[in-house]
């Protein structure tokens, strides 16, 4: 569907205007709200910290991005395989699903120190953290999608003499892709949280580590700068994944309505 130019301009302008409004509100609060700068630095102070602290922020962002991407890749891969396994073999679902649910019942902050203890201060513990955070939405979304295959297609496949595996490949998996895409979008939004929580608990690099260091030194402007980088990184990552998914789901008319 071809949209008018004004619609496309608004698609870009809407988030820009929202962000500008929020920054203006923040600036007003910092300037006239009688809040000390070590509690709420003004936007221009954060902008200066972004520039002056770029030598620290850039490698930290790269570390967090690497952890996030690795966590996303492994989490989506493992979550998908488990969802497919549970769809093909019901006993696996009955045995494993309670454990998957249990993993979500434990707060990630409680697990983080243990993971650092087990996997060390390096990247591995943060990747495992990100995997743990995104595993459930991916498994759950793809599992739901696989269970809700249109009954008529299953009947059709049976009369055609299909095997379970080929039904999975040609019908159930493609049909589950919209649900899977929802899970992946959710995972993309929350994966950086897993990585950053891991960095907070024990790390020598990354945005979470930088935030914690800045926090203990009362460098609130640098902390806000690191937060801004993390937010921008997450939004860009989500946007890229969303575009990829929209392209992969070319056959869904609904994807044209998602901006």
């Amino acid at each position: 569907m071809i949209r008018p130019a004004s619609h496309r301009v608004m698609t870009v302008l809407r988030p820009v205007l929202t962000c500008a409004g929020l920054v203006a509100l923040w600036g007003a609060l910092a300037r006239w709200g009688h809040v000390p700068p070590y509690m709420l630095p003004a936007p221009d102070a954060v902008a200066r910290a972004l520039w002056s602290g770029r030598a620290q922020l850039e490698p930290a962002a790269v570390t967090t991005l690497e952890e996030t991407l690795l966590g996303l890749g492994i989490g989506i891969g493992a979550g998908s395989m488990l969802a497919i396994g549970m769809a093909l073999w019901a006993p696996l679902r009955r045995w494993v699903m309670p454990m998957v649910l249990l993993s979500q019942a434990v707060p990630v902050f409680a697990l983080a120190p243990l993971l650092v203890l087990w996997f060390g201060f390096g990247m591995a513990s943060k990747v495992v953290m990100a995997v743990l955070v995104i595993f459930f939405p991916v498994t759950s979304a793809l599992g739901d999608g696989l269970r809700q295959t249109e009954a008529g297609w299953m009947d059709l496949a049976r009369t055609m003499g299909a095997t379970r595996w080929r039904v999975l490949v040609h019908i159930r998996l493609p049909a589950a892709m919209p649900a899977f895409a929802t899970g992946v979008r959710m995972a993309t939004a929350i994966a950086p949280i897993g990585a950053v929580v891991g960095e907070w608990v024990g790390a020598s690099s990354g945005l979470g580590f930088l935030m914690q260091t800045a926090n203990t030194r009362f460098q609130t402007d640098l902390m806000f700068a690191a937060l801004a980088v993390l937010a921008a990184m997450t939004v860009l990552l989500w946007w890229g994944v969303d575009r990829l998914l929209a392209r992969a789901l070319y056959w869904r008319p609904a994807h044209a309505d998602i901006d």
Binding site: W153, T159, H170, M177
Partner: protein
Amino acid sequence: MTPPPGIRLEGVGLDFGNAPLFRGLDLLLAAGHMTVLLGASGVGKTSLLRMIGGLAAPDYGRIIANDDLPLAGRVAWMGQQDLLLPWASVIDNVTLGARLRGERPDLARARHLLGCVGLADQAGVLPAALSGGMRQRAALARVLYEDRPVVLMDEPFSALDSVTRARMQDLAGRMLAERTVVLITHDPLEACRLADTMLLMAGNPATLAHLDVPGGTAPRPVDAPAVLSAQASLLRRMMQ
């Protein structure tokens, strides 16, 4: 295609909860004929069709082919919805059965069949680009690609407008000739145009009654006096 078998129902019954939906149905669906099954919604027509197709098991009795060979693998299914996969092109939908069986799709034959149903130019498009009538024609091409001697159709044209439906009846009547076809419909005109044998399923528990079929060969012209007269009397009978 192997020769079409007749299908024998022997004491077939199905319960819905504790109540019988139908019991003791005995019937021979003649080989190479189109049997049209009419009846009110909820009487058990689709359940019976699913049993013939091997998609559900009867609670009582059995359904067998009269050539003593299994029915499994000899049945093609066409439902109320076209059941086209929205992510696959029209030709990929037509050849779906081959891919599901791990066979190499015969694209030349699929194109020929698409030409027969008037969709030669739409082979590469997605189903979303087709009208309702075109989608059902693609579904018919998928049935023809399967080349099965038995075809089961559950109200396949019910969602179409009158003109498109009449055209689809002509097409299906011609293309499915000499196969053993069971067609469920609520449309008396459709039944009178296409049936070699007409059955009314009614009652609680339901039974099957043979109805008179107009003369001439199916698909009968939509304006044939015999068809119009039979349609009127059939409608009267269904309203009782």
